[in-house]
Subunit: 282 residues, 2 copies
């Protein structure tokens, strides 16, 4: 496996592959790779002749009070994981090369980014969409793989790829969880042992909501939101950022519990902000 740190070198590699007419899969990441990322890489390897995993902690998608500087980094371990899973290239450019000092161009997806994490993290999705446009233009992937844990990101990126006529198919992959149900996340490393236990409340409250929906008729959006909210409030280390139920594709607030729905949470466990979600079809 090659490690490429330079944009021009990446473009040369991509052009060689394009000349052979071989397919390229891209797995965009911020590094500190875990089994969630690994599942994306495996899927990409199974569906494409060549796979690029990029590792880039994108300053543009962090707010001024967020954890950009603290975000965990371990390129050696990431590189082992990518090699073990037969990725062709680990692409890790420097922010100083990717963003010129006078960079002034930004990609925005409106509406879809207004609720959920978009409401809580202003500028976050502009950062995500701008950097992905850049990486799509550099790597020219046939397919790009995203985890369903960032459900809003997945919906936003699908819309962006369609709207801007990218030749890239956006593929969502199921959330990978620890044995006890906690969604895998690089941010889980921030958690103390007590917080790690408390963090289970995210998935547990979602599972209880699901059971309740499946075993009761005519439940309302407000009932389900309250059920989840109450359960999380009982956990002293948890502080709710949002509990939302939205329509599957356009992410509009659900008015009733009908159709394909997404139940999405963001919860602070101590100082660590975790997200989780489930999709249900009623």
């Amino acid at each position: 496996m090659k490690i490429i740190k330079n944009i021009e070198e990446m473009k040369i590699q991509v052009n060689l592959w394009k000349k052979e007419d071989s397919s390229i899969g891209l797995v965009p990441t911020m590094g500190f790779l875990h089994e969630g990322h690994e599942s994306l890489i495996k899927r990409a390897v199974s569906e494409n002749e060549h796979v690029v995993v990029y590792v880039f902690v994108n300053p543009l998608q962090f707010g001024p009070k967020e954890d950009f500087a603290a975000y965990p980094r371990d390129l050696d371990k990431d590189s082992e994981l990518c090699a073990r899973n037969n990725a062709d290239v680990l692409f890790a450019p420097e922010a100083s090369e990717l963003y010129d000092k006078d960079a002034a161009t930004f990609v925005n997806v409106e509406r879809l980014t207004e609720g959920l994490c978009g409401a809580k993290r202003p500028g976050h999705f502009q950062g995500v969409c701008t950097v992905l446009t850049k990486f799509f233009n550099i790597v020219k992937p046939d397919r790009a793989y995203f985890g369903e844990k960032d459900a809003q990101q997945l919906a936003v990126v699908k819309r962006m790829a369609r709207d801007l006529n990218f030749d890239t198919q956006i593929i969502g992959c199921p959330i990978v969880r620890e044995k006890d149900g906690l969604a895998k996340s690089s941010r889980n490393t921030y958690l103390s042992p007590e917080e790690r236990t408390a963090a289970l409340v995210l998935f547990r409250s979602l599972m209880h909501a699901k059971e309740y929906i499946l075993s009761n008729d005519n439940v309302t959006v407000q009932e389900i939101k309250s059920l989840i909210t109450m359960e999380i409030m009982k956990e002293p280390l948890a502080r709710i950022d949002y509990v939302e139920i939205v329509e599957g594709e356009n992410l509009k607030e659900a008015q009733e519990m009908r159709g394909p729905l997404l139940i999405a949470l963001a919860v602070f466990i101590g100082r660590t902000r975790l997200i989780d979600n489930i999709s249900i079809e009623i």
Copy 2:
């Protein structure tokens, strides 16, 4: 020459060319082609193995009170001009195919778009950048050709292509003028005979400013702006939209008459808004 009206068909053609490893030149236009466009097409044909001229009156770059509906259209004549100049494809997609009803993605270039036409036409450059991103992704040009008449557009598109890592070289081509100096523009067809004569004031005032700069030492920005303003004000059919002197690359308001500068005008002649500019290096 082929006329392609469908995005998928255009992509298939582009992929065939890419497989032969041949270069693609793109000439983006809103149609009603004149000798200005023709000069771009000739240059594109001389520098690329294949040339696509697109004709698309982009609703996104017109304000609600602007001339979108009235904008002149003549695809038959455009097609003759393209064929005569050996373009390979005239690409003329429908707005309904290019923009999905729930399209929500927009490309913005900040700062560079704040002055000049950007200040007078809110949303205009967002429309330009968004549609160009789409066409760049569809046509994948090695080079794209723009007239220097839209000097701000050229600067904005250069910045966008660099910032988003497009593999497209942005090439500016000199303004083509009528014999009496009026810059060629599809909007010149709006002018009555009296207005056509009055419209000469744009270029004339720029030429007088240039003479004054070349024959006087230590002129100030305000002197030159006043000189131009006074000359245009003497023309009863003209109404100034802006007279600006900005730095060449970043389009910041010039503080002194030094370095590469752009003197740019927008003037209403009757109801028709015309633009013109000259570059000077002092």
